[in-house]
Symmetry: D2
């Protein structure tokens, strides 16, 4: 059943960052078509945004409730709705949409509390609908390839994992200047219990588990707030212990000048090691113990089937952030198709990050905050 999924959106009106990314990601591979949205809690703003996107006026809604009601009544109703609001506004719309029988794609972190996250697991289960969470960095082809190489034991028993995600942009007290992105991210009412740990640390955590195929069983976290007056953490160092005994560290920061969006993963095993950086995402540095390092390129020699399945163009023609995000959208489309057809999802669909990943991410955030409160005591996730 070849089809284009009809997509709705919650949030992501004019001027929003991540909403535009979701729309491009949905569009790139032609698996979705945006047809409806509650783009803002301000009805006029929602309609204006919809007009920007060339939507029909009657499918631009002023609230979730209105959207749920109206869409439910249509024969050409949306198949799936993407939620791209700030963290504290994820749970309610997701619950409502699932209950009404829509599939949901939610930005990370899934919710601001563990209870809400678990509630959504139950809601998705009851509704038998897909609830996917956009851990978009898992969509990079070379990340998929790294994961596959580890699954194929090419690194041997894993020993050490160093993961980090650093940015510069909150080095200055932007929230004091009224910068919108900074305001909600540093506000516990909107962001939840954590700042940088919830905003980007959760990506680093997910990526480390995704690629290694291992659970991080324990963490000892030291969160800090470097910018005076800030209400949430903007820097964190953590010690990691993995289920197989491997050790590691996680560093995340939004006060590191010179780091634009530096998500970086290094994994070392008995037989070899990997290094990958999101800012140069098309290559993996792979070293077999005792040999010269190799630069494995997406789509090129050694790029592997998992990588090839997630890429569009040959090596040397860089793919980037949008393509990786689009890949996650493709995998979610596969998952939705399988759900609607009542069949078992294929291999690609199984790579899509789901509500389970979302819950785990929320647990990670809360565990880190609690460990830090206890002066970096070891805690089990």
């Amino acid at each position: 059943m070849k089809r284009r999924l009809r997509l709705g959106m919650v949030g992501g009106g004019r001027g929003a960052f991540i909403g535009a990314v979701h729309r491009m990601a949905a569009r790139l591979d032609d698996r979705y078509e945006l047809v409806a949205g509650a783009f803002s809690s301000n009805p006029q703003r929602s309609h204006d945004s919809g007009a920007d996107f060339l939507l029909k006026e009657d499918r631009c809604y002023g609230s979730i409730d209105e959207m749920v009601r109206a869409e439910s009544a249509r024969s050409d109703r949306v198949h799936v709705v993407a939620i791209v609001t700030p963290n504290h506004l994820h749970h309610a719309p997701a619950a409502a949409l699932l209950q009404a029988g829509f599939h949901v794609i939610c930005d990370k972190p899934l919710t601001t509390t563990i209870a809400e996250a678990e509630d959504l697991v139950a809601a998705a289960d009851r509704a038998k609908r897909v609830l996917a969470v956009t851990y978009n960095y898992s969509g990079y082809p070379i990340v998929r390839h790294a994961r596959q190489m580890i699954a194929a034991d090419e690194l041997g028993e894993l020993r050490v994992v160093q993961v980090e995600y650093a940015q510069e942009w909150l080095s200055a007290p932007l929230e004091g200047e009224g910068q919108k992105q900074a305001l909600w991210r540093t506000d516990p009412e909107k962001a939840g219990v954590a700042g940088v740990v919830g905003d980007i640390g959760t990506h680093a955590f997910h990526l480390a588990e995704f690629v290694t195929g291992l659970r991080i069983s324990q963490i000892a976290a030291d969160l800090s707030t470097c910018v005076p007056g800030r209400r949430l953490d903007d820097n964190a160092q953590m010690l990691l212990r993995f289920a197989n005994g491997a050790r590691g560290a996680l560093w995340t920061s939004q006060v590191a000048p010179g780091n634009e969006n530096a998500l970086r993963l290094r994994i070392y095993g008995e037989k070899g090691g990997f290094e990958w950086s999101q800012e140069a995402p098309n290559h993996l540095r792979f070293t077999r113990r005792g040999e010269a390092p190799q630069l494995i390129a997406r789509g090129h020699a050694g790029g592997g089937p998992a990588g090839a399945a997630a890429t569009r163009i040959p090596a040397g023609h860089p793919e980037g952030y949008i393509e990786a995000f689009a890949q996650v959208y493709c995998d979610i489309a596969d998952l939705i198709d399988a759900s609607d057809e009542g069949i078992t999802p294929g291999a690609s669909a199984l790579l899509a990050p789901t509500v389970e990943d979302g819950v785990r991410g929320v647990r990670f955030i809360h565990t880190a905050v609690e460990s830090s409160r206890r002066n970096a005591a070891w805690m089990t996730i």
Copy 2:
């Protein structure tokens, strides 16, 4: 007048490389919608391809003629048609489409002869329609920024330009193994008078002129064929002289193992220098004479308004080949909108590569071949 252009396509059926790129580029920024196509000269194949793209069956055509005729008769006819066939099949469809009043987007090189190229200039002029040529590398935001910096005299009088475009993939005699992409590119009947010079050298030439804002007035070219039995050049070195007296060199090769798609531009002036590589397209290395080199990032400090106008997401979130290609599609959409509305194109539209660039590219190819025949004699383009 906000609208989504209805797009048709010639060529680019199942299994084609560049057709898929054009489709993603058209889709990414939501300025186009693919609605029709003559995807193959084999009608069945054309229909199957159209089905892949979820097109209506009656808009999948078995020939250009059929498409021109049928689309012309529709009120919802395509606004513009992208031609993504091998080089020798550019001229005829472009001429027919222009004559029938359609705008045209053509892959490079525009044609295989200068006469054909000039014929299309006249045809576009007569039809008062846009004929754009996808010199896609000019769409990178940081390339735009470099161009703007030079226009603002930040490098001072330009002195030296080193440009190169190297690949590995034709190091082996793939045409002898029946590889489809290699077959037509090494066949003078289909590729024209040149091999690598026409296939990728023309991109390097365009980029050097685009960024510097200078004409390359003379070249001395030494073309060679490294793979025994190959019928066209697969490597070329050229000396360059620019209109302002600057000197340079151009190297292009498809027999350089280790080079995936290594388009690289270096420009040096009295006051500073640039280095840019397409495989790491989000950064420009800029050095003011006597100062430490800076890494200017797309979308970040120093990325400039021209770069900002061509980008979608913040620095550190890599954009790539598809985004740059999409940017050219956006600029062409602006050009078409201006044409249809009878207004003067805006700044962005003026960056779109047009038939004039296409003609210049064809002249470059023929001049290089002729210079090489004369043992690398200097020739004026």
Copy 3:
């Protein structure tokens, strides 16, 4: 008083690694001349080694005692002796040499116990002789420049320090194969209480304090042994807290395939950030908050006076490990000259790592081991 210091050596006979480095470092800038040595506890081997170095036979000794006695009796006695034996053989010769009135240069770590380290402080003090410890990475010009920039407050208040030192070579159980360098480094009798933490972690610790000018007040360390059967740690992750409140992490490993000698330092402050890697030691990546990163080159624009004072050749002509080691030797020569002349050491001499740095390094090692025994509890150094 321009002179060339007469140098003796303990250890470093045929086949040794670090002994040869010390000799080149001493020679490069013509401040020392090797004239004597007890290169091995095997007298024949010591003499053969001395012959390799073109020394006079009567100055090649079979033991420290012999050397101390014989050299003390000469009018052209050595000014200073370099100790380049395994860790457990540092204290005794250092104590004997100091007592006999010789200056001493000792490889790191200074000793295997804190008591021995403190004993050497007292011994040097009593003897009024220089006891320097070769924390050689502090000799890189660009490291000096980074230190000076921080001292000049160019980064503002420091917030985050990430330091790491990773190698691959002990990924395999080389000690089981009888590899000499591996054998003593993994043997608690010879290496002391720690493996990788003592062998290279101590360099990372020293470098972080040297460049920031801050004390690391507390650490929480998690040491692990990845290679089965190994008797000491080969990997360690640590959380760091600095005296000013800055946070950080230290990672050191000898089981990280793909890392040759990857000492890397990243420092972030309110106003900017640094990144430096020992494997590309001639450049510092420096970012002022909100500006494009700069690549500051040793000896070039922005390389600064402290860097210039420690370099020999212009930018673009790479200096490396030997030159940095030689710089430390130069600084030690300045210190010795000042000591012998009874004058106050100059600025360069004050950069030489001394017995105080050596003691601090030994304390770090023992604190890390103890913290790890307590399950990564915070401990004060």
Copy 4:
């Protein structure tokens, strides 16, 4: 016969750049001891310089003649003399020293005319003494390894060679500001017929032939002078044809801001390709056709015996410019030892660049100038 060669020097007094490099290179591996010199044509300056180097006063000479006469009369006379004066002052001292029976090490280019260069060939032959020319970049271990890999046919038949050597420092008219290094290099009376081509282009030429093992049979050169008023070329582009039919290009410039000392060599053959940059000299990027690129490190896996023979410390401990220069000095020492002992030089000695390389370099310079005068006509070297 293990010995330390007694070294004299012509030029290289206080404040000189390359003289200091020669002294460090001679010293590093303990194969030479500087004992005498005519460091300046000003006797006082020569003596002061000698005092800086801790030489005996009676071996600091005010002229070559004086040095030749006095040293010839000594039983402990110098074995070899290094000439580090500007280009026009190479021939006369070299001829005089050879005639007096001294070995000679001469900086490049050997002379300013072909006739003088050939005269030195004859002089060295008559005197049966070594005349070596310091093409120092051939001393890098990884360059040696690349050469050996090509000799072992690991790249297959060579097809393309791109070599370049670019600097920034003459972008400004420094000679007009009286800068000493710029003054003589831009003065035809002192530098000879060429500027950048003779100063650094000759290194690029030598390196290309050294590594490939091929002769460059023909060049077509376009020399330019970018800085107004400059009397010699400061930029040059050349097309290259190699004896085996391979093609290439050479670019050399001293007006390229952002290039410190960017000597870069890329070689492509049927089976693979190389890329090497002098500013990151410890690694070679090597790609077997169709495979992922490898980063071969000096002293590490795949670094090869030729590389190992030219290195001092393990991979990850960077060696640089001085070490490479020192390697050439070591090889010359082997050559001198073989000459004095009347035995056949070993493999390492045969890598030392000799008067033959010197002559070829001078021919290259003159051929380039003449080709450029003929509007970049092809000329045979």
